[in-house]
Amino acid sequence: MQININGKAHDLSGADPDMPLLWALRDLLGLVGAKYGCGVAQCGACTVWLDDIPVRSCQLPLGAITGREVTTIEGLAGDALHPVQEAWIAHDVAQCGYCQAGQIMSAAALLKRNPNPSLEAIEGAMAGNICRCGTYTRIVDAIQTASTRLQGLSFYEVGQEVAERQTDGGVSV
């Protein structure tokens, strides 16, 4: 089983094909940004991108994603910050922060598809991510701020911008 994660190929042949991607990321690869919240695709804490689509990694068996491209929060901008992450800091969104990697992955995917989403589009895209601490007001504000930043920039340009700010270069946005 070969899976590409954040632009790097990983051979997970020794792992149980039933193992959800979430636990492979966390326990086998040390990528712990995706969180375990429910294990049944209810909360979104485990959200990563599969070929640029946000998915719940707790419900994604390794055997089903061989050869696919996975992006996790660690790969969104590396040590640099994606405009969504910047907006998250600017709006001081997090309380406990446990849900926020998942929220950011859903928000960044939304803005990639639709850089200028309506409130309804934001609500639709974010409904699968629970924030138990109730930071929803700030999540909406941060998405709108990031959206403003992204206006007029192609996603290629955003990727370039992020890459430029990144010390170790190379980022898959």
């Binding site: 149980d16 690869l29 001081d92």
Partner: protein, 737 residues
């Protein structure tokens, strides 16, 4: 298989663990390089250390489970130190009562309890820097002052950074409490401002800062299966079959204690009996649970049925007085006899689970002589003392490391999962990460106790509130004392304000473990009392705001100088501010309503107005909520506002459709599909106003929650004419959309 990088925390770093704690920023949790025993160089006191390169390290003493104290508490130190916040690096303090006192997260007490201490610590460190500059420059101390992160000699214009001065400053004697002058509020540069959470940069990057992210060398992974019927213990299990599964390292029975656990945080060393499955990774352990079969002994287990508990409680609450008297003020019987009208209402709330988003986990390494644990406990000090008792070791043999938690709300006050992890580790002879599944978290909580209220009020001819009866029906595991959060609230309004009062209580038996859930006791009382006061205003034909203002009685601070006692002046100001902000009295379209709620808890006077609409399908939209609060001075405006926004979402979430039901001692809900949390599209617009009076600051984590339910239920009444007397509102067929 690629080995990959091992997550953040390295055990060898912890063994070199400094006396100063864990760094929060850049690269997740790292450990300052310093010997275990020696005080780090350049430290001025347990809270302040200044690096030669200018970084100012401030220790955050109390656990942060999302309430923001890892930012707010260091801000208080930084203010008095006169540190530039840009230079500040926050670290998590070690758990050490000798230097940091009581380190816990509960009761919205972190800021309130540490306000004086932390200002003094910051000011004392600043004074040491000033004195060391005076000595070096040969100038009088009085000619010196500070600007952010530097000392200034005004007459000569000479300056030196804190970093340049710190080495010599450590030689200065520590100033005593009376020797330093604290800043006047008008001189604050930092307090009251919006400051971004100290962990924000790590959070948005997904760095390993949570309990679930802890990883130490040689660690193995465990899951722990307990009896669904709370308090049951294993007799036998198909252990050999489980052990034969690939990747399983061991499976064994822990006899543990029979019977439900206790919420006695200080004393309980209860470990529920169960079956531990230990594996090479979390998934292998989880998967093996499917093959596990256990024969349980349920002779000492709970047999609770929540429907029966409720039926008994409601029939008791229907009587005006209960088994025992709790309080009598004035002459309630004649007040009721003389009244022009009597209004009654029975209010009920249900069992509720915490559902913090990070399920319990703990990394533990227990040997016969030492126990070391990494935990997001809200009471790490009790984790230490109860582990010492359980393992019969001296307190010094127990090392507890505080780690950020993904939500608390009271769930992490108890430490039973810490003890489970340690017991499993000792059996394995290795460090173990115990991971609870969401299903474990929901089945083995210390739930919010339900409470039931038989309320009666006497109104005079002119509609004044002259008598108040509250028959409180409480769940009790021993039939004597009410369970935590179910008892009599014991303070102030309306009980101590109305002239004639009779409070009585009746116990209903329940073995289901209950504990503290955000704003315990207050959250159930607020719903019942503040809804009932609206009923009274309606019965008296008065505007709710005017009725509430009058019911608060004379201007009075019940125990002057005790922030935890009601001050009716502050209360009225909050009500006046929120009703003004919400446009109280404006014309509202049909099907919409405004509702008001006020509550005093956790030293906070908080008033809220909700605007809702209700349609023919009983769908409730919560459009907007206004909140005005007097919490005294505000430490971190962004943090306090975030706590308030979150409390309102939490309040709506709980009242909408959260209830735990119990059959034959087992919890019926297993995960979020049966126990829904509010989602973004249901979340209202929220307006927060802090009155920012001159009183010392009180905590922001809890006091905004209690008024939410009454404000919304009163708004629903105003929108559709239907009174809600039972939570969650889904029980009456309402649905929050």
């Amino acid at each position: 298989m690629s080995a990959g990088a091992s997550p953040g925390i390295k055990r060898r770093d912890f063994l070199r663990y400094s006396s100063f704690g864990l760094a929060l920023s850049s690269g997740g949790i790292t450990v300052l390089a310093a010997a275990k025993t020696a005080a780090p160089a350049n430290s001025l006191n347990p809270y302040v250390m200044i690096h030669d390169d200018g970084r100012i390290v401030i220790a955050a003493p109390n656990p942060d489970v999302g309430q923001g104290v890892n930012t707010a508490l260091p801000m208080i130190v930084a203010e008095e130190l006169d540190a530039d916040w840009q230079d500040v690096e926050v670290i998590l303090a070690p758990i050490d009562a000798s230097r940091y006192g009581a380190q816990f997260a509960g009761g919205s007490l972190s800021v309130r309890n540490r306000w004086d201490e932390l200002r003094q610590m910051g000011a004392a460190a600043r004074e040491m820097l000033l004195r060391s500059a005076a000595q070096q420059w040969g100038v009088p101390r009085v000619e010196l002052t500070t600007q952010p992160s530097k000392v200034l000699h005004t007459p000569s214009g000479r300056t030196a950074s804190f970093a340049e001065l710190v080495a010599a400053a450590t030689e200065q004697p520590v100033p005593a409490d009376g020797e330093v002058v604290l800043k006047a509020r008008a001189d604050y540069r930092l307090l009251g401002q919006r400051v971004v959470n100290a962990a924000a940069a790590d959070i948005v990057r997904g760095r390993p800062i949570f309990g679930i992210d802890v990883s130490v060398p040689d660690m193995v992974y465990a899951t722990y299966v307990k009896c669904p019927q709370v308090g049951g213990v294993p007799k036998t299990a198909n252990l050999d079959e489980v052990k034969a599964l690939p990747g399983i390292l061991d499976a064994f029975i822990i006899a543990g204690n029979a019977g439900p656990p206790s919420f006695d945080l200080r004393k309980s060393i209860h470990v529920a009996g169960g079956v531990a499955i230990v594996a090479s990774n979390t998934w292998v352990a989880i998967k093996a649970r499917r093959s596990l079969q256990v024969d349980w002994d349920t002779s000492a287990a709970s047999t609770d049925d929540s429907r029966a508990i409720e039926a008994t409680a409601l029939s008791a609450a229907g009587r005006p007085t209960g088994e025992r008297d709790v309080k009598r003020l004035g002459d309630p019987d004649s007040a009721f006899a003389k009244s022009s009208s009597i209004v009654s209402g029975v209010y009920a709330t249900d069992f509720v689970s915490h559902a913090q988003l990070e399920p319990q986990s703990c990394v533990a390494h227990a040997t016969s002589t030492e126990v070391e644990v990494w935990t997001s406990s809200q009471t790490p000090g009790f984790a230490q003392s109860t582990l010492a008792k359980l393992f019969e070791l001296p307190a010094e043999a127990i090392a507890v490391h505080q780690i950020r938690g993904g939500g608390g709300f009271g769930r992490r006050l108890s430490n039973e999962y810490v003890r489970e992890a340690a017991v499993i580790s000792k059996h394995m002879g290795k460090p173990v990460k115990l991971q609870w599944m969401r299903e474990d978290d929901m089945a083995f909580d210390f739930y919010r106790s339900p409470a039931y209220f038989g309320l009666q009020a006497a109104l005079s001819e002119t509609g004044e509130l002259t008598g108040w009866r509250n028959h409180v029906v409480s769940v009790s595991s021993d039939g004597e004392e009410a369970n935590y959060g179910a008892g009599y609230r014991g303070y102030n309004f309306p009980d101590d304000v109305v002239p004639n009062v009779h409070i009585s209580q009746t116990m209903v038996a329940s073995k289901t473990p209950t504990g503290a859930w955000r704003a315990p006791i207050s959250n159930v009382y607020a719903f019942a009392e503040q809804s009932f006061l609206h009923e009274l205003a309606e019965a008296a034909g008065k505007d709710h705001r005017d009725f509430l203002m009058a019911a608060l009685g004379a201007d009075k601070w019940f125990k002057p100088d005790d922030l935890a006692s009601l001050n009716t002046v502050r209360a009225r100001k909050a009500i006046a501010a929120v009703t003004q902000a919400a446009g109280w009295g404006r014309a509202i379209p049909k099907g919409r309503g405004l509702g008001l709620g006020f509550f005093f808890s956790h030293a906070g006077h908080v008033a809220e107005v909700a605007e809702v609409s209700v349609n023919a399908d009983r769908q409730v939209t919560v459009h907007e909520v206004w909140v005005a609060a007097d919490l005294g001075q505000i430490v971190n405006l962004s943090g306090a506002e975030n706590q308030f926004q979150g409390s309102i979402v939490d309040g709506v979430s709980a009242l909408a459709d959260q209830r735990i039901s119990i059959r034959s001692g087992a919890i019926e809900q297993t995960n979020f599909h049966q126990y829904p949390l509010l989602r973004l599209p249901q979340s209202p617009k929220i307006n927060v106003e802090f009155l920012a009076s001159d009183y010392p600051p009180s905590g922001a984590g809890e006091p905004a929650l209690p008024p939410v339910a009454p404000a919304i239920c009163n708004a629903v009444f105003n929108a559709c004419g239907e009174r809600i007397r039972s939570l969650p509102i889904s029980r009456a067929g309402f649905k929050v959309v």
